[in-house]
């Protein structure tokens, strides 16, 4: 058992009178993979963004490595995001003015660490089969290549927590399988991987699965329906 690196406690989220998430409590350990599943509109992406401190919960708490995020200033939360999280979005979200290698280096630029990790960025892109695409801009890359660049960007600073929103969406089965392998590799190195997915194959590779229905956790670990503990 790894240590609890990310924990949500009774997370509640409303938009006006509409409830998006209700009392979600999940514990994620280092070196494990959690899959969040559920139909469209069930609140998966909202939960993921609250876990990644990208938006605030209406109520409840997110603990990152034991630190209560809500107690921190915006600057402190930014530092936490920088230090703990690697993010993979539904769309690759690469900056079109930058080349593939530059996109990978963006987190390092923001953390003022680029000199130390240039070689690592190159190695990551090479590992993902993009050695000859490093200096191409996003508009010159295929969807699969964009996803791999985004994955390299998320992994560059070896974050303890990796959040991935539908990482295999729109990919062909071979590429989807590779992405799953790479995420599993990250878990093997000790990262906690949290994946929002519709893909049963992806969910099957997770250590834990939570299922959301209309903002409520109705299934956890594929075993304990109604249990609000995903860890």
């Amino acid at each position: 058992m790894g240590k609890a690196i990310l924990e949500t406690k009774k997370i509640h989220k409303n938009y006006g009178s509409e409830t998006i998430l209700e009392h979600i409590s999940v514990v994620v350990e280092s070196g494990s993979m959690l899959a969040i599943t559920g139909p469209s509109g069930s609140g998966k992406t909202t939960l993921l963004s609250i876990m990644g401190l990208l938006q605030k919960a209406s109520a409840g708490e997110v603990l990152v490595d034991g630190i209560a995020a809500s107690q921190l200033s915006p600057k402190g939360q930014a530092a936490l995001r920088r230090q703990y999280f690697g993010l993979i979005f539904q769309r690759a979200r690469l900056i079109s003015s930058l080349t593939a290698i530059e996109n990978v280096l963006v987190p390092a630029w923001l953390a003022r660490k680029e000199k130390a990790v240039v070689k690592k960025a190159q190695a990551l892109l090479a590992h993902f089969g993009l050695a000859n695409r490093m200096h191409h801009r996003p508009q010159e890359l295929s969807l699969g290549q964009l996803r791999r660049v985004a994955l390299a960007r998320a992994l560059l600073l070896e974050p303890p927590i990796l959040l991935a929103d539908e990482p295999t969406n729109d990919l062909d089965p071979i590429m989807a399988n590779k992405v799953m392998d790479w995420l599993a590799d990250a878990r093997e190195t000790g990262a906690a991987v949290i994946v929002v997915t519709h893909d049963p194959a992806m969910a099957a590779r997770a250590d834990h699965v939570v299922n959301l229905q209309q903002g409520r956790l109705v299934l956890a670990d594929n075993q304990h329906e109604g249990n609000n503990n995903g860890g």
């Binding site: 401190l53 990208l54 915006p74 993010l87 769309r91 079109s96 003015s97 930058l98 530059e102 960007r153």
Partner: protein, 398 residues
């Protein structure tokens, strides 16, 4: 960080270049107007000090008043020397001193090769040149001595040939922005002798009489309480002459230039405003277009300050580029405008010194940076306060 800024500017090359060019034009106009204004102001002030006369009497056929006062144009037009004594007798005339002008003409290989005005002054009555000579420990000029203006060419060592005769240059005048810059000063009698002996000018003397009986102009100093208009009328009754009221000419030129510079300044100001509005509009539009991008930066750990720095940094880089390009553009614009103005109007002009130019460029740079930062502030504020989650909810990046 700078890499992100630079890549973003480079990515929007055409928009950046258009903005940079607009700024460059604004900066060049502002600096040019400032330099011209300074040059004319100092020129007018200096000429006022140097001329030191209230009235200038010239022959009636001389029409270029400002040119006579401030230009370098050589004039061969004369009055009888009797007018000097007649003027001295008019009440409230404090002092009157004659000057004799002619222009040099190339008469042999070693002469001054351009038309330079030769000014003969009268040491016995002059109150402008003689006191200045005393300040440089020099008495009146001997017959073979001259003083040259700073724009007189071909001065080799301390010798200069004028109308076939060698002269020793005893001093150089300081730059004044007036006709004195193109003048060679000799004593009155020597100027008349040189003119009389000049073969190319022989036909002139046959028409107007012997140089020894002629003067070109009379400079007059009045009592402070004198009625300038009444004295001008009285002088005009003495013969075919024209009285130039120095202060009026200067005022007229000053007014004309003020109007012109206000116009140019207005254009410059409009260009500045347009370029700043363009800057604001660009960054404001970018705020809307680039929310997802800025959301991404925030999502992966940038602080709001980092994002604001990216927006303002991008604005400042464009502004600095615009100011630098404007500095380069200033040179031809300044030279061209000055040249056009001098073609249509004679006026005293002293080019601003290096220090003034540097401080003007520095001030304009600061002004642009300040206003540019202000224009980018709102977009920077809005950009840095987007929700990090917008990276997941907004459209594609540009």
């Amino acid at each position: 960080m700078f890499a992100i800024i630079w890549k973003s500017i480079n990515h929007r090359k055409v928009a950046s270049l258009i903005m940079l060019f607009t700024m460059a034009v604004g900066v060049a106009i502002v600096i040019t107007v400032s330099l011209l204004y300074r040059g004319v102001s100092v020129g007018l002030e200096t000429s006022k000090e140097r001329l030191g006369a209230d009235l200038v009497v010239v022959p009636g056929d001389v029409s270029m008043e400002p040119g006579l006062l401030f230009g370098g144009a050589p004039v061969n037009s004369y009055l009888s020397k009797d007018i000097v004594d007649a003027i001295r007798k008019i009440p409230h005339v404090q002092q009157a001193t004659p000057q004799f002008f002619t222009h040099t003409l190339t008469s042999d290989c070693c002469d001054v090769g351009e038309e330079i005005r030769l000014v003969g002054y009268d040491p016995s009555s002059d109150w402008i040149i003689s006191p200045w000579l005393k300040t440089i420990q020099k008495g009146n000029l001997a017959d073979d001595e001259i003083i040259v203006g700073p724009k007189v060419p071909d001065v080799l060592g301390d010798q200069l040939r004028v109308l076939g005769k060698s002269f020793r240059v005893v001093s150089n005048l300081e730059y004044s922005g007036t006709s004195l810059d193109y003048s060679i000063l000799v004593n009155l009698d020597e100027a008349r002798r040189l003119a009389a002996n000049s073969k190319p000018l022989g036909q002139t003397w046959q028409k107007v009489g012997e140089p020894k009986n002629l003067v070109s102009t009379v400079l007059i100093k009045l009592d402070p309480s004198a009625d300038i208009a009444a004295i001008s009328s009285e002088i005009q009754r003495l013969g075919y002459c024209k009285v130039i009221v120095a202060s009026e000419v200067k005022q007229r030129i000053s007014d004309q230039f003020t109007a012109l510079l206000v116009l140019l300044g207005g254009i410059g100001l409009l260009t500045v405003i347009v370029s700043l509005l363009q800057l604001f509009s660009r960054f404001y539009t970018l705020t809307l277009e680039r929310q997802a991008e800025w959301g991404l930066y925030l999502a992966i750990g940038a602080t709001t300050r980092d994002v604001a720095a990216l927006v303002i940094g991008e604005a400042l880089v464009v502004i600095l580029g615009g100011v630098a390009a404007g500095g380069v553009l200033t040179l031809p614009l300044y030279e061209g405008t000055l040249s056009v103005l001098q073609t249509y109007q004679s006026f005293p002009y002293i080019a601003p010194g290096f220090g003034y130019m540097v401080s003007t460029i520095f001030a304009v740079t600061l002004l642009y940076l300040g206003l540019g930062a202000l224009a980018a502030w709102l977009p920077a504020y809005q950009g840095s306060h987007v929700e990090p989650t917008s990276v997941m909810t907004r459209g594609e990046f540009d």
